[in-house]
Symmetry: C2
Subunit: 237 residues, 2 copies
C-alpha cells in the first residue's frame, strides 16, 4: 500500500531540471504511472555502453520486478547487482500550438533508480512468477497448467527496490503564449489512448471455454491503462 | 530512403541473444518500428549511472533525431558526444497461454546504437526543428508563427547516426506447446492498439479555423502507428 504523503528523496539523479513544475516525487504519483503500464524500458550499463531494453514490469510496494530470460544479457549483467533505471511513459496527446516552439505532447513519465538484483531463491522466484501472472490476470495462475522446476529455473526475474524516482507529466490544452495569440492556424490537442481490442481465442481450445473472470478487466474498447490501474489495486489491495 | 536489402552489422551490442529467431538486422525492419512511434526511450550513462529518458524522436535516413531542452541533463551530457541507445517499442497484444511459462506479449521493438551529438550549427538546427514539425504535421511549419533566434537557441536537438541496431518482434497467437494442449483454460490473444481520439480545439481561436491538411492524417479512431508510418513516408518520400 502507498502511504499518503510518502515522497522519494530528491537527489542529483532524480531531480527534475527541465520544466521542474511538471515534476513530482511523491510515491503515489510515481506508482500511478508505473501501474498504468505493462511495459517499461530499463537502462543499464555494460562496459560503458548504455542499453535500453523494453520488458514487462510489475510492482509490489516499493519493489519493482521485471522479466527476462536467465539467458539474456540484461539478466546476466544485473545478476551481480547493478544500477538500473526503469522508466515508464505514456503518450496522452499531441499538443499543437500556434508556434513550433510551443508544440509539445501530453504525457506521463516515471523514472526510477535503484540497484537491480536477480531473484534467485526458488521460493522467492515462485512468488515473483505468480505475481507476474496474478498482477495482470487475477486468479489465473492456479487455473494454468502448473509450472515445473525447469520452467522456474529458465525464467529470469529482476527485482529492484525504488531508491528514488520522479514523475513528470503534462496535461491540458495549448498553453497561453502572448506572442502566438491570434496567429491564424488551427491549434488544439489530439488525444491518444491505448485501447484493448476484441480477443482472438486460441483455435486449439478443444471445446469452447469461458474467457474467465481473470480477463473481465480487459473489455474490448476499454482503455488499457485504466484496466491495469484497477488490476494493480486488486493485486495490492 | 531505405535501400532494400541493407542490413546493420551484427556486433556484440546489437546481437539478439534471447529468442534470436525473433530478431532481425535489416534497415527496413528497424525503420518500420521507429517510424510507427512518436516517443522513444534513450539510455545514456552519466558517471556510471544509467538514465532512461523518454523523448520525441524522428528519423531522416540513418540519422535519428530527438528533442530536449538545451538546459536538460541529457542534452548537456551528450553535448560532448556520448554513446546512446534509443529504443522504440510497441505493445501489440497480451498472449495468454495455458501455462505461466508460455504467457507473453506481442510486441515490436527496435534498439539503436551510436554516438549522440547535439545539433548546434544554426542552419542545421533550423533544418532539424523544421523536421520535428514537418515529419509529424506536413506543411504546418510554414503556417506557424515564425521561430525566433532565441527559440532556436533554447531548443535542444540531438542527432545520432545509427551505427548498428536490431529489431525484435513477436506476432501471432498462442504458440504450440505439447505439454499444455488440452489444459482447460481460456487461451488467446487480447490485442492492444494506440488510437487517435477526437481533437480538442484550443478555445482561444478567435474565429473557427479549419483543422488543416497537416492534421488530416490523424482521424479520430485511427491507429497512431499507421498514421505516423504514412507521415514518415511523406516526409522521406
Amino acid at each position: 500500500m502507498t502511504t499518503a504523503g510518502d515522497t522519494y528523496p530528491i537527489t542529483p539523479r532524480n531531480r527534475v531540471r527541465r520544466e521542474p513544475t511538471r515534476g513530482s516525487y511523491d510515491h503515489a504519483s510515481v506508482h500511478a504511472i508505473l501501474d498504468a503500464a505493462m511495459l517499461c524500458h530499463v537502462s543499464y550499463v555494460l562496459d560503458g555502453q548504455p542499453f535500453c531494453t523494453p520488458t514487462l514490469h510489475w510492482r509490489e510496494g516499493e519493489m519493482l520486478y521485471w522479466h527476462g530470460s536467465s539467458a539474456c544479457r540484461m539478466i546476466r549483467h544485473l545478476a551481480v547487482g547493478a544500477p538500473a533505471c526503469p522508466t515508464v511513459s505514456h503518450l496522452d496527446g499531441l499538443v499543437m500550438a500556434r508556434s513550433a516552439f510551443h508544440h509539445t505532447v501530453n504525457y506521463r513519465a516515471a523514472m526510477c533508480f535503484g540497484t537491480a538484483h536477480p531473484v534467485s531463491d526458488p521460493a522467492e522466484k515462485l512468488h515473483a512468477l505468480r505475481g507476474m501472472v496474478e498482477r495482470f490476470y487475477p486468479g489465473r495462475f492456479d487455473a494454468l497448467r502448473p509450472v515445473t522446476a525447469q520452467e522456474i529455473k529458465a525464467t529470469g526475474v529482476i527485482a529492484m527496490r525504488i531508491e528514488d524516482a520522479s514523475a513528470k507529466a503534462r496535461t491540458g490544452g495549448v498553453g497561453p503564449a502572448p506572442e502566438d495569440e491570434g496567429h491564424p492556424v488551427w491549434a488544439g490537442v489530439i488525444p491518444v489512448t491505448t485501447r484493448i481490442g476484441a480477443d482472438l481465442p486460441c483455435p486449439r481450445m478443444g471445446r469452447p471455454l469461458p474467457r474467465g473472470g481473470d480477463l473481465s478487466r480487459y473489455p474490448a474498447g476499454g482503455e488499457l491503462g485504466q484496466a491495469l490501474t484497477e488490476l494493480q489495486r486488486l493485486y495490492q489491495g
